[in-house]
Amino acid sequence: MNHETDDSLNTDTVNVENTAIAVIERPRVVGMPVPAPHPLAFTSSTPLTMGVELELQLINVETQNLTTEADDLLRRIAKHKIAPNLKPEITQSMIEVNSSVHARFDTLQPEMREIRDALVKEAKRMNIGICGGGSHPFQKWNERRIYPTDRFLAVAEKYGYLAKQFTVFGQHVHIGVANGDDAMYLCHSFARYVPHFVALAASSPFYQDTDTSFDSSRLSIVNAFPLAGHAPEVFQWEQFIKYFDKMQAAGVVETMKDFYWDIRPKPEYGTVELRICDTPLTVDHACDLAAYAQTLAAWLLDDRRRGVSEASVMDLYLPYAVNRFQACRYGIQAELIEVETATRKPMAEDFINTVAKLQWYAAQLGTGESLQRLSRLTLSGNNGSLWLREQLKDCESMWEVVERATALWAT
């Protein structure tokens, strides 16, 4: 889920070497007025650079319920060097952290660990906890308090109780692309792999004090929003701009932020944003997922035949919702429908086969170990949801599950 995150990927600390964000050059004719760029003009960025956003839970360490101290945490940490990496979220019980832009996993992970350590240290001084996971097991949504910024108050006004129910926690991964056409191609091509990300990141089995039987219950909350779903089946950026202008003129949306799609182009950053992962239980796992997205993007962009073509995009989206549901419901044990062969196959097998194809790219990008860890996790079935369920079985209390998850996040 995301509200403010749209403008929150931290560009203040961008490593220029890694990003080389360039403004699109326009031909100029002397004496002619320069037309204003379209608000959706696509900013080119270095392909395959990546950035991570994580929405985190703020925990009352006494009751293990969510606390409401995001503003105080942000105030207290305002002078710390990680301050630019932090942002408020829709309710006072959440906070968002975002990484700088990275070309490689081995710079992303240390930065994310540093942010985590600083955050955990300050939280300890405040006597609150920081916790990963896609949902809080037993918080009551109606007890949440909206973070008082104009945008969040407007979202709360617009969406009513959905705004407070949106106190669920997601990971977003940005992958840099050279232009808008690449962005649209990648948006559609990634869609086939959405179940992988959902299942590997799944860590929201509990919601409102109940085992939902889902591995990721978080996405059901996102589904309630009218503009959730996937991007329109267009492939050229020009076409996308026309689509957006039409939607805007009709009053369906005001800005790109109004689309709550699973995968969204992000023209101002020059990225494609994957928004379907639950926030994992550790930053290391979050970094592994980003590494998978980066490697997959490298493989897909390297040869367009590997991804989706305009001719096959309709078929791609036929089983999309069902496959996504399967991954939410059964996690790694999901079965995926493949329309072209009219078959079902285990998601785990599909993931392992995909990883096998990525080996050369993983070696170039330094993501091999991440993919190995994700493969081991897939074979054992041990995602975040399973871990959380095992904890509940062991301690028989939801609040102790939160306590353990908070301790896990800090390590």
Partner: protein, 404 residues
């Protein structure tokens, strides 16, 4: 005799009837207070109690006050246990400026209040006893007001810690002074020395034994909210009864029990159960009875001195809070709110004075009439002002739930 089946006059209020009436009256008072939007509901309970009590229309007489004592004690037990379990000792150990704030504000309050009474020619020991009593902040008022407005956040959490610290310090100071009071009253030396020891060590020991029993049973029972709730409630009521039976400190026993529930076995703690609506019943009775116990007659004679007492106490607590607040990264607004939240000086302080009276026998006034009267007058004043100040503090700190 005809009409034997009819009740005989005068009708006698049974405990059941009284309990029901007190609850009803409290509800009305609470509702009226809530309508003001600045008064916490407990002020409504207190005012209704005062109006119905011996100081008002005398519907709740002194003897009925005694009958209701059991409910009041259970309420205090619940509150003290709740306070104890909200104190994270590991946090206090690591966030040293908070601990320092608590110790310094307690010490400064004790010193300045003692000096105040000495300045008014109260004998030193008695001035010190009054000073010790003045250190304590009402756990009942602070915690119930915070709960009523749904307050949660850094100021609330620190307020609870400071309330626990200054109640502990007050109790320690108070019991340490007991030998001297005993000696002044020519009580046997051994008694004078052993009494505080029995009181402190005995209460802590009782709390610890009950905690062990609580943990054992908690692990044996199902960890559902209902069973754990009944278990904890039962243990609290038993603890109150045992402490009273053994002439130990109810405050220290329950605080010990709560502190251990939170801090021992940090990785396999007792479940935190919400006492919820059941406890709310007891709290209504507690505050209505507190109100009924107030006496305005004493107040008028020493009102100005009580006012000075309250101001000195506020300043003594606020100075260290502001001084150490910066080191704890508190904003000025948070420090101001925290200082205000400690204003309530209430039932427990009165409890201590009464306890002293009980211990020394009713014929021996524990405190000089001046110190005692000023204390009680301050309590009266703060019962009315304290909850309003605490409510304002939590709202001012932006920690009260805007939905309540």
């Amino acid at each position: 005799m005809f009409f034997d089946f009819l009740p005989t006059f005068p009708l006698k209020l049974s405990e059941f009837l009284l309990f029901g009436l007190v609850l009803l009256a409290g509800l009305v008072g609470g509702r009226l207070a809530a309508l003001t939007r600045v008064m916490p509901v407990i002020t409504g309970y207190i005012l209704v109690g005062f109006i119905c009590g011996p100081g008002g229309f005398n519907l709740i007489t002194e003897s009925l006050l005694g009958d209701m004592r059991v409910f009041v004690d259970i309420s205090l037990g619940l509150i003290l246990f709740d306070l104890g379990r909200r104190i994270d000792l590991r946090w206090l150990a690591s966030e040293k400026w908070l601990l320092m704030t608590g110790l310094v504000e307690s010490a400064l309050t004790f010193a300045l209040l003692t000096l105040l009474f000495v300045a008014f020619d109260v004998p030193f020991i008695q001035a010190a006893v009054a000073g010790a009593v003045g250190v304590a902040t009402s756990a009942a008022v602070v915690m119930r007001v915070a709960s009523d407005v749904g307050s949660e956040g850094p100021v609330t959490r620190r307020a609870f810690s400071l309330v626990a610290i200054n109640n502990m310090v007050a109790l320690l100071l108070f019991t340490s002074l007991l030998p001297f009071v005993h000696l002044e009253n020519r009580i046997v030396f051994a008694d004078a020395l052993l009494h505080p020891l029995y009181l402190i060590a005995g209460s802590v020991l009782l709390g610890a034994v009950l905690f062990q029993l609580l943990v054992t049973m908690s692990r044996w029972l199902k960890r559902t909210n209902t069973e754990q709730f009944i278990l904890q409630l039962a243990m609290i009521v038993a603890a109150v009864g045992l402490a009273a039976m053994l002439k130990l400190s109810v405050l220290l026993t329950l605080l010990t029990l709560g502190l251990m529930a939170r801090n021992v076995h940090p990785h396999r703690r007792l479940p935190v159960v919400e006492f919820g609506d059941v406890a709310q019943l007891f709290f209504v009775v507690l505050f209505v009875m507190t109100g009924a116990g107030l006496k305005l007659g004493d107040f008028s004679t020493v009102a100005w001195l009580a006012f000075v007492f309250v101001i000195v106490r506020f300043v003594a607590k606020a100075l260290p809070i502001f001084a150490f607040g910066t080191l704890s990264k508190l904003s000025l607004r948070q420090s101001a709110a925290l200082s205000l939240s400690l204003t309530p000086l209430a039932g427990l302080a009165a409890g201590m004075t009464f306890m002293l009276g009980d211990m020394l026998g009713s014929n021996t006034p524990a405190l000089s009439s001046l110190a005692g009267t000023v204390l009680l007058a301050s309590v009266t004043l703060m019962q009315l002002v304290g909850p309003v100040a605490a409510r304002f503090a939590f709202t001012y700190a932006n920690e009260a739930d805007p939905n309540t």
